[in-house]
């Protein structure tokens, strides 16, 4: 079907042309009516045009692009972590990176000397010594002799962990593990002695690193690792997805109670800072940050800036200046360097170091002429009319 005028390559008549429209019938006539009723577009008003103009002039796009990339990388990282955590939890796979870090060259596990097995009973007798209970879910693994059942119960002391972060003894090293115990501590006299594994006294930090060669290799039960990852994942879910700081704090409290010296404790501490921020508890967040040993890389740089800002807010200017200087000394991203430079300038100014403050302000204006702390020109849209 072509228009009323001409064939396929001739100019068709416009549907809105009154003379052509009079000859149209059926669907084409209704189509012409539809076209005729189509409203004229209004475009954007002056405010909309001014907004677009401001976006075109500002550096927003590059920032947006960077934020996109960072978000993408963070998402990929988080997905990977969650995947590994799930695999560890449901498929029973060991966490590869954790085992790699904690035990680089796992030697064959030296088990404590087993008490000599009872002489007579053959294999079936070991599998089911008591006749009555029909395969309980919590039954201990078969090889364990009855006297050794509580062996996995005693808390693994922090002192024998090969890569425990920091050498400071944990405030609650042994007693806090109690909630994990399926049975209350049973000081049965038949239990194997285990002298090197569980020293009765509180472990001293100096004794921690050089573990004697005769010590059996401590191994973190995969269940504990999976539980750590699961709790942390739950807390991060509350934080990132639901933005629920209170729920995240509850989970993190649970984490601290169950895993006081967990492998993921540093990550949990950082998540706690995020949760406190989310709840607006800035001073608690500062106190939490004070307890952290922040490194000059990665997310710790951002936390250093935040800690500096909170310290400055609380009046601890010299400590804040140290934080900012550490960030500026590292290869921090521009957004963090901008905050740190401005923060240090303000701290120096407040402390009466006028020369230092002037130097920092000048450096700020030079590095970030259109930065968020720089004075902006008042005009958004050029005055000429559109």
């Amino acid at each position: 079907m072509s228009g009323p005028v001409g064939g396929r390559r001739a100019q068709p008549a416009r549907l809105l042309d009154p003379s052509a429209r009079a000859q149209l019938t059926g669907a084409e006539a209704r189509l012409a009516e539809l076209f005729a009723r189509a409203p004229t577009p209004q475009g954007l008003d002056d405010h909309g045009l001014a907004r677009v103009h401001a976006r075109l002039r500002g550096p927003a796009r590059s920032t947006l692009l960077r934020a996109w990339r960072v978000g993408l990388a963070a998402g990929a990282l988080l997905t990977g972590m969650v995947g590994v955590g799930l695999a560890a939890r449901y498929a029973g796979l060991p966490l590869p990176f954790v085992s790699a870090v904690r035990a680089p060259a796992p030697p064959p596990r030296a088990r404590p000397p087993r008490p000599s097995p009872p002489p007579a009973p053959p294999a079936p007798a070991v599998v089911a010594p008591p006749p009555a209970p029909p395969a309980p879910a919590v039954a201990a693994p078969p090889p364990l002799p009855p006297g050794q059942a509580p062996v996995f119960v005693p808390a693994r002391p922090a002192s024998v962990r090969p890569f425990a972060r920091g050498s400071a003894p944990h405030p609650r090293p042994l007693a806090i593990v109690a909630p994990v115990r399926p049975v209350p501590a049973d000081p049965s006299p038949q239990a194997p002695p285990l002298p090197p594994l569980a020293p009765p006294s509180l472990p001293s930090p100096s004794a921690a690193p050089p573990a004697p060669a005769s010590l059996p290799e401590p191994e973190r039960p995969p269940v504990a690792l999976a539980s750590e990852a699961s709790l942390l994942q739950e807390a991060l879910g509350h934080l990132r997805l639901e933005r629920d700081g209170r729920a995240a704090l509850e989970v993190l409290d649970r984490y601290a109670a169950f895993h006081p010296a967990g492998v993921l404790a540093p990550e949990a501490a950082r998540a706690r800072v995020d949760a406190l921020f989310l709840l607006g508890q800035r001073q608690q967040a500062r106190r939490q940050l004070e307890t952290l040993t922040l490194e000059a890389r990665g997310r710790d740089l951002e936390l250093s800036v935040v800690r500096g800002e909170l310290r400055a807010e609380a009046g601890d200017l010299s400590a804040a200046e140290r934080d900012f200087s550490r960030v500026l000394g590292a290869r921090a991203p521009a957004a963090l360097a901008e905050r740190a430079l401005h923060g240090r300038a303000v701290c120096r100014q407040r402390r009466g170091d006028a020369a230092g403050a002037a130097r920092d302000f000048a450096a700020y204006r030079r590095r970030f002429p259109g930065g968020r702390f720089a004075p902006r020109p008042p005009e958004i849209m050029p005055p000429e009319g559109l």
Partner: protein, 201 residues
């Protein structure tokens, strides 16, 4: 050509006017003169459910990026029109791809609240409703067409451009433009008929 309602503005000047002495493009001036026009073209070409501010933003970003390619052989308005067409086509393609992604599908179908100026605030609710339904029906039919047919038809019927201008903007020959328009109308009429049979008035 009898209808010249929405032809490129007669005030549109050659891009040479907005180029400074060194030949560099003065994008600020270009924006001041043409942004409002670009927004209307974008609204017409994209239809409801697209954020016109974003489209205009993209058009001028592309103009900024491509300013070296411009040789001064076309009017500024023609050049911007061409960019607008491509930007809208790209957005429509993206939107179509989003329909394949489960968590994006709803957004792709519902669209974004448009940033264009609400039509005639003095209109009665009945008039507003009628406009909205008319526009929705028109673009629902148009969206079923291939992009090249859809663009040619909108430019010819709604924008009132001449065949030669459409050929210049879309990079097709004049004969091809007529073929596209004819086929687009034919397809549109067929769709309308099918729709009426499906849901009799």
């Amino acid at each position: 050509m009898s209808r010249t309602v929405a032809q490129p503005s007669p005030a549109a000047r050659s891009l040479r006017v907005v180029a400074d002495a060194s030949g560099a493009l003065d994008l600020d001036t270009l924006y001041r003169r043409h942004a409002s026009q670009v927004a209307r073209w974008a609204e017409r070409l994209a239809g409801p459910g697209y954020d016109i501010e974003d489209v205009v933003h993209d058009v001028f970003l592309v103009a900024q990026r491509r300013q070296r390619e411009w040789r001064g052989q076309a009017k500024a308005s023609t050049w911007l029109y061409e960019i607008t067409i491509r930007v809208v086509q790209r957005r429509r393609r993206t939107r179509r791809r989003w329909r394949l992604i489960p968590w994006r599908r709803e957004q792709a179908e519902a669209g974004w609240p448009t940033s264009a100026v609400p039509v005639s605030p003095a209109a009665t609710p009945g008039e507003l409703y009628e406009r909205r339904t008319t526009t929705a029906l028109l673009y629902e039919l148009l969206d079923g067409l291939d992009d090249k047919y859809r663009t040619a038809l909108i430019l010819f019927e709604l924008e009132g451009l001449a065949g030669r201008e459409i050929a210049e903007l879309t990079g097709a020959s004049l004969a091809n433009v007529w073929v596209r328009i004819t086929r687009a109308r034919s397809e549109l009429a067929r769709r309308m008929q099918a729709r009426e049979q499906e849901r009799p008035r």
